[in-house]
């Protein structure tokens, strides 16, 4: 596998809800070698730093990224239309180690952390349980895509306007009480990841978490995106989200 920098045309642009942009890019060089949990760095015209976006899906020559408009950079990106090209660097990072996809597994996602889970859950089909948490019903997105994979999809919202009223970790506890789970894969806000990791560790279930940090080079050179981990020898050190992650074994993360 090797990282490439390439210009790829936007094949399809959809706005799943207000503030959310879903881009499908014609990008064979990256799409064909992308693994679930990896990300790309997208250049935004007029900005010094590229924006890291997790790969939501990769099928054939097409690469899909979904992002929320957060600031001026993503606002620029949201203005790119079908047929226009984006400058993309990737695929980058260490993704999810899915293991045997015939085992029953659980995915927990929160907010804008749900996107990389679509690519990751697909090979598990009916064996995957996908638990997604959002602030409120208006923020819910991509549920049809997740259902299409065959996964058992369950929702939670902080205000109870859709699905379970409460945290996604409430759904996790219920699911783990129901039937066996061979592994947990999580992506979302740090407190959600921590709660997921703690529940997994209590039950002795392997857990991988996808983390984020402010990033500059996105390729391991600048050491900007530090994430504290515990080395096998017990010493704490800074790993980097861009090359050592974004997916980490939950046991090595220093919360």
């Amino acid at each position: 596998m090797s990282i490439v920098v390439t210009r790829c045309p936007v094949a399809k642009k959809v706005l799943p809800r207000e503030g959310l942009v879903d881009l499908t890019l014609h990008c064979p060089e990256i799409a064909r070698q992308a693994a679930p949990g990896q990300f790309v760095m997208v250049r935004c015209e007029g900005f010094t730093l590229r924006r890291p976006l997790s790969i939501c899906d990769a099928q054939g020559d097409l690469l899909r990224v979904v992002f929320e408009i957060r600031g001026a950079g993503t606002a620029w990106l949201a203005g790119v239309e079908e047929g226009e090209a984006l400058d993309i660097l990737g695929p980058q990072g260490k993704g999810f180690e899915l293991g045997d996809v015939t085992r029953p597994v659980v995915f927990t996602g929160g907010g804008i952390g749900i996107f990389p889970l679509l690519f990751a859950c697909r090979p598990f089909r009916q064996q995957g349980t996908v638990l997604l948490g959002f602030r409120t019903a208006a923020m819910v997105a991509l549920t049809d895509d997740f259902r299409e994979t065959g996964a058992d999809l369950r929702l939670a919202t902080d205000d109870g306007t859709a699905g379970h009223h409460g945290m996604v970790t409430g759904l996790l506890t219920a699911r783990l009480d129901e039937r066996p789970c061979a592994a947990i894969f999580a992506c979302g806000p740090r407190p959600m990841l921590r709660a997921t990791a703690e529940e997994a560790m209590r039950r002795g279930i392997p857990c991988q978490v996808s983390m984020e940090q402010r990033m500059a080079c996105g390729m391991g050179a600048c050491l900007g995106c530090a994430n504290k981990i515990r080395r096998p020898d017990g010493a704490e050190t800074y790993a980097h989200v861009c090359v050592d992650g974004p997916v980490f074994d939950a046991r090595e993360v220093v919360w």
Partner: protein
């Protein structure tokens, strides 16, 4: 057939195939960008700042974007000089480019110990970092007064048998004074500028974005300051200057050379465009050809000031 313009430059006795260098900290030890283009395209590679012992660096967040630039407070995370020499230098040496080792530390003794090791290694030049704004001890404190800057330069000079570059801080009242002091103390060449101390605040949390509160500003936002300082230092000292600070395009490199730099380093622009140094070199060649300039050295300090 028109002969290609001469691109090679001389920095303190070391010949660089061209004047485009990568700046310390933006380029790691070369492996990451070396996967995208041959490092032999570059005049030199300046490696990440090296300290005597391994350093973990500062807590995150360590970077934040700014208008036309970015802040960083990496805090000199590096594996230590010995591990660099064992695990990184042999690979880098085989890439066919000049190697500049950036050295840092908390005390003068640390700097000297790092110098002692590197001066007998395969690196070609040493760059003394007395201008890092992101560490509590040492770093920028050595670079903000003539007395301290000259003192550490003279101390390191005694251990250094390779050409010694001193990298200057822009966070000073008169950079030409500091430049003159370190040249008198034995510097063979100068790098300027390091980053400018800056800050960004998250207005929702009412906290600085960087965990270290403050960090070094780089990128196009600082370029006019860098150009002005290169010009001021060129007017004061004769030694070679490596100009840096916000160079993102070939036009910026030409500006640096005209202001008096003998070579130009590229840092933050790598994050926007991984191929920036290669494109800058190509653009420079085309500029020389278009203008019938046979030797890039003819541009150095060739600016005519207004009277």
């Amino acid at each position: 057939m028109v002969t290609a313009p001469r691109l090679s430059v001389n920095i303190a006795g070391v010949t660089l195939a061209n004047p485009i260098i990568t700046a310390s900290g933006a380029f790691g030890f070369g492996r990451e960008y070396g996967a995208l283009f041959p490092l032999s395209e570059l005049g030199a590679v300046t490696v990440k700042g090296l300290t005597l012992e391994e350093r973990a660096g500062n807590p995150p967040p360590r970077v934040a974007e700014t208008p036309a630039g970015m802040l960083n407070s990496i805090g000199l995370q590096n594996p230590g000089v010995d591990k660099f020499m064992r695990e990184e230098l042999p690979w880098l040496k085989a890439q066919g480019t000049v190697i500049i080792a950036n050295i840092a530390g908390n005390t003068i003794g640390d700097y000297c110990a790092v110098t002692e090791r590197l001066t007998v290694s395969d690196v070609d030049l040493l760059e003394l970092n007395i201008s890092c704004p992101n560490v509590k001890q040492g770093g920028v404190a050595f670079g903000t007064t003539c007395e301290n800057a000259a003192g550490i330069t003279a101390a390191v000079r005694r251990y250094c048998t390779k050409p010694l570059i001193v990298k200057l801080s822009p966070n000073v009242a008169d950079i030409a004074e500091i430049a003159a002091a370190v040249v008198d103390a034995g510097a063979d060449a100068l790098s300027l500028i390091n980053t400018l101390l800056g800050m960004r605040i998250d207005i929702d949390t009412r906290r600085p974005i960087l965990a270290n509160n403050v960090g070094g500003l780089s990128g196009p936002a600082v370029r006019p300051i860098a150009v002005r300082m290169v010009w001021q230092v060129r007017n004061r000292v004769k030694v070679p200057i490596i100009g840096m600070g916000g160079v993102a395009a070939w036009e910026d490199a030409v500006e640096m050379l005209l202001a008096g730099a003998n070579a130009v380093a590229v840092g933050a622009a790598l994050f926007t465009d991984s191929y920036a140094p290669v494109k800058i070199k190509q653009g420079l060649v085309e500029y020389l050809e278009r203008n019938g300039i046979a030797d890039v050295n003819a541009l150095v300090g060739a600016m005519q000031v207004n009277s």
